[in-house]
Each structure stands twice: as structure tokens, then as C-alpha cells.
């Protein structure tokens, strides 16, 4: 698992990367009440705003961590956005992206480095 400074986690599953936000991020955000997901089949570039999440407190943007094609989104979040609070690194994932340049993953932190960052 890799981590971004924006508190996203990236998990490689075969030739796609699953993206979500960390438990640390959900704790900071509070109860999540709305998630707007990208269109499946769309191509995104690194740092594009791909997901909007709204918590009881505020709206936040989630940026695409890498270039690629959105191949699947977690539709369950549309009706039940609290899944992200309940299981941030499991059922609360946002989207799966097929990387166009897998080497971009090398830019990101491993778990030890991420834990050091949030401490």
C-alpha cells in the first residue's frame, strides 16, 4: 500500500490501483454525508479533482494521484457515504484507476513514512 500527502491510500490489484482515503483523513473530516464519484471510462491526469466529499463540516476535493483511466467506482458510497468512515481502507474505497504510467506510484510514501508524517 502507498500513501499520498493528501491522505489517500493506493493499493495495487493486478493492473489497476484502488484509491481511497486514510482513517486519519476520515477522523479529521468527521462524518461523511456525500460523495461525488467520477465517470467510469474517463481519463484523468494526476492532480485533477476527481472526487468531491462532503462531511458534516465542509466539502473537500480528492485529487487523482496518478494519470490513467477510471475503470470502476464504488457506487455503494452514493447511497451510503458513511462507509468511508466505517471502513476507510476497505469498503470505503472511491475508485479504481488503470495507470498509464505505473512508475508514478514510486513517488508515494510507504506505510512507515505515512505514519511518520501524521504523527
Amino acid at each position: 500500500m502507498k500513501y499520498t500527502e493528501e491522505h489517500e491510500w493506493l493499493r495495487v490489484e493486478g493492473d489497476v490501483v484502488v484509491v481511497g482515503i486514510t482513517e486519519h483523513a476520515t477522523t479529521q473530516l468527521g462524518d461523511i454525508v456525500f460523495v461525488e464519484l467520477p465517470d467510469v471510462g474517463g481519463t484523468v491526469s494526476k492532480d485533477d479533482e476527481v472526487v468531491v466529499i462532503e462531511s458534516v463540516k465542509a466539502a473537500s476535493d480528492i485529487l487523482a494521484p496518478i494519470d490513467g483511466e477510471i475503470v470502476e467506482v464504488n457506487d455503494a458510497l452514493t447511497d451510503n457515504p458513511s462507509l468511508t468512515n466505517e471502513d476507510a481502507i476497505g469498503d470505503g474505497w472511491f475508485f479504481k484507476i488503470k495507470p498509464s504510467d505505473p512508475s508514478q506510484m514510486d513517488d508515494y510514501m510507504d506505510e512507515a513514512a505515512y505514519k511518520a508524517m501524521i504523527e
Partner: protein, 371 residues
């Protein structure tokens, strides 16, 4: 952060694990361990305890303080029965609202509770206009707690059975956990409940005794905001301010007949001419409740339009968020008078898209007051 004021419950908040934030010059709990959503739902299901000690408590004494206050507030205060409470507001010369407040007739004085952010200005305003005929005394040696929710009566009655005898908007002096408390049966959540003014030195102990009850949880400012929004209650500085008149704000119900045109004590408050003219001919804009379609919350500042593209802006959201009891987004805001009818659809511009909202009667959740 060191220049922030603390309420007498500060140590209790910290011990309970509250997330403290700056609010109106005070360090206040925005949420506790349950989080905003669960705190909100707990208050509607059982009872929540809020620290609202940052609010201003003021006593007005002297010769007919009720009549004196009517020079600043367009409300029937003279006719307010002893040990009854009423909602009101200070108006300005332009007919706008300087602050909203609660007034209680305590026999030999009027007890006033005002908003934290406005309290210094309110006290100066009252002193400047009303002294020395009456005396304005800020009460700084008392904390203010709110116990809100359907279980509030049963909980407070364990400390003084007289709590159960009170009706909505009654006030009384009760002995709670050995403290002489000034209690009103009112609040800011749309639920039955009480607000309790308690001496500073006895506040933390009273709060702890209430929290020891299995039905009571501590509730932060986050849920206080979502509760009052579902309850259709205005937040000063957002839904009402110095630019909004009571007519625009749909608060004319708070101006009793005796203070209106043709009443025995008609006018005599700042901005009366402007407010009466608007009452007679209608205001150009109105505060309304709004239900966004879908799940996306629309917050303060979102511009409103009559159509899904083009056209001039017809209003804006002044408060908005997610309503945990409604299980969806709720908002209030101002729209032009021609659109201010229930079931009218307007459009809010959110992230470059216009999304529909339906004008809806408030409260969004049924009020559960003990009438």
C-alpha cells in the same frame, strides 16, 4: 489560542475528549467522541447536554424595565406574563436586526439572553439608550447549560420535580444539585428541553450529574448547528443580520399586534417605519427553507437562480448542511418574494452545476415542544 476565553465547563470538555475550537472569542467544544451525526441523533432520541455559557446573560432592573426595553425591541414585553419567556430582537434604524434574543419576565426584572458574538455590543446598546432610567447588569458569575431532547424532562425532574410542571417558554427558579438555577423550558434544537443558568462554581458539578444519567450525552456546537437548522431556527450573523429586516426574515410572528400599526404601543423601536411599510406592502425578499434534491449539501453562500441556466441571481443560501434526522441536505436562504412559495423549485450553483432545491416549510423536522 491563549487569548481565548474559557467557560466554567472547560476542564470537563477536555476530560470528555471534546474537540475544542475558537468560537465568538471562546474555546468551545465542536464535537465529542460520538461525532456530529450521532450527537445530533442522540439529542432527538434521548437528551443532549450543551454548554452555552458563551452566550450573554443580562438582567434589566429599575422602573418598568419591560416598557424600557420596548424602545429597542419590537416585541410585547409589557404584556409578557410573570415567569414567561418570549423571543425577540434588537432592530436598527434601517429596520435590520442587530441581534436576536430571549426575554423572560422574572417579576422584579427582565432576564435577557443574547448571542455570544453580539453580547458586548448589545450591552453597550442597552446601556446607551436605557440607562439611567433602568439598570443593565451583565451576569458574568453564571454558566448556561442546555438540556435538550425528549428525555430532558425526565432527567431534570430527578433533580427537581418542578421541572416537569413547566410548559414550553415557562421560566422558574429551581434547586438543581444544590444550585439555585434560573431555568427556562426552551432551547435551540426544535426539541423539548431546558436552558439552565447556574452559578459558575456549581456548573461543572451540575453538568456531571446530568451526564451521569444514561440518557444524556454531551453535545458540541456542530450538532447544535444541524439541530437548529432542521428546526428552522435562525443563526444570527448568517440567516439574519443588520441588513435583514424581520419581514424579510419571516419573523413578523414575533412582533405582537400591540406593537404593530394600530396597536396600543405601536412602533417606538428603531426602524419601525421601514418595518411597518414592509409589513404593509411586502418585502422584496423572504427567508425560506430549502431542500436540495439528491444528497449533496449546499452551504452558506451558494447562489440561487430561478432556472437551470442563465438568468439573474434571485437569492443565496445563508445556512446549509446535512440534516441527520431528515437524512438529507437541508438549507435556508433568501429568495425574491415572487418565488417564496412552498414547492417552488429553484437552482443552486454548486461546483459549476445548477442543482434543484425545493422551497419547503420549516421546521424540516416536527417540533416536539411541551405546549
Amino acid at each position: 489560542m491563549s487569548d481565548l476565553l474559557q467557560t466554567p465547563l472547560h476542564d470537563l470538555h477536555v476530560r470528555l475528549g471534546a474537540k475544542m475550537v475558537p468560537f465568538a472569542g471562546y474555546s468551545m467544544p465542536v464535537q465529542y467522541g460520538l461525532g456530529v451525526m450521532k450527537e445530533h441523533l442522540h439529542t432527538r432520541a434521548k437528551a443532549g447536554l450543551f454548554d452555552v455559557s458563551h452566550m450573554g446573560q443580562v438582567i434589566v432592573t429599575g422602573d418598568n424595565p419591560a416598557l424600557a426595553l420596548e424602545a429597542l425591541i419590537p416585541v410585547d414585553i409589557v404584556g409578557l406574563a410573570e415567569d414567561r419567556q418570549r423571543y425577540g430582537f434588537f432592530t436598527n434604524e434601517a429596520g435590520g436586526i442587530n441581534d436576536d434574543l430571549m426575554l423572560a419576565n422574572r417579576g422584579d426584572h427582565i432576564f435577557v439572553v443574547v448571542n455570544a458574538a453580539c453580547k458586548d455590543a448589545d450591552i453597550a446598546h442597552m446601556k446607551a439608550h436605557l440607562e439611567p432610567a433602568v439598570q443593565i447588569t451583565p451576569i458574568t458569575d453564571r454558566a448556561l447549560l442546555a438540556l435538550q431532547g425528549p428525555a430532558a424532562e425526565a432527567v431534570l425532574s430527578t433533580l427537581d420535580p418542578a421541572a416537569a410542571e413547566m410548559n414550553f417558554m415557562d421560566v422558574a427558579t429551581l434547586s438543581l444539585n444544590g444550585a439555585e438555577c434560573w431555568v427556562s423550558r426552551s432551547g435551540y434544537t426544535g426539541e423539548d428541553g431546558y436552558e439552565v443558568s447556574v452559578p459558575n462554581g456549581q456548573a461543572a458539578a451540575l453538568a456531571q450529574v446530568l451526564l451521569d444519567h444514561e440518557d444524556v450525552e454531551p453535545i458540541g456546537l456542530g450538532a447544535r448547528d444541524s439541530l437548529r437548522l432542521e428546526g428552522g431556527l435562525c443563526l444570527y450573523g448568517h440567516d439574519i443580520d443588520t441588513e435583514t429586516t424581520p419581514v424579510q426574515a419571516a419573523l413578523t410572528w414575533a412582533i405582537q399586534k400591540v406593537r404593530r400599526t394600530g396597536g396600543d404601543r405601536e412602533g417606538g423601536f428603531p426602524g419601525a417605519d421601514i418595518i411597518f411599510a414592509e409589513m404593509a406592502s411586502g418585502a422584496a425578499r423572504k427567508r425560506v427553507g430549502l431542500r436540495p434534491e439528491g444528497r449533496a449539501p449546499m452551504r452558506e453562500g451558494v447562489p440561487l437562480f430561478a432556472t437551470d441556466e442563465g438568468g439573474a441571481q434571485i437569492g443565496a443560501i445563508t445556512s446549509g448542511g446535512f440534516g441527520p434526522t431528515v437524512e438529507g441536505p437541508v438549507a435556508m436562504g433568501y429568495v425574491t418574494a415572487d418565488l417564496a412559495k412552498p414547492d417552488t423549485v429553484v437552482y443552486g450553483e454548486l461546483r459549476g452545476k445548477r442543482l434543484p432545491l425545493t422551497i419547503t416549510k420549516m421546521p424540516f423536522t416536527p417540533a416536539n415542544f411541551k405546549r
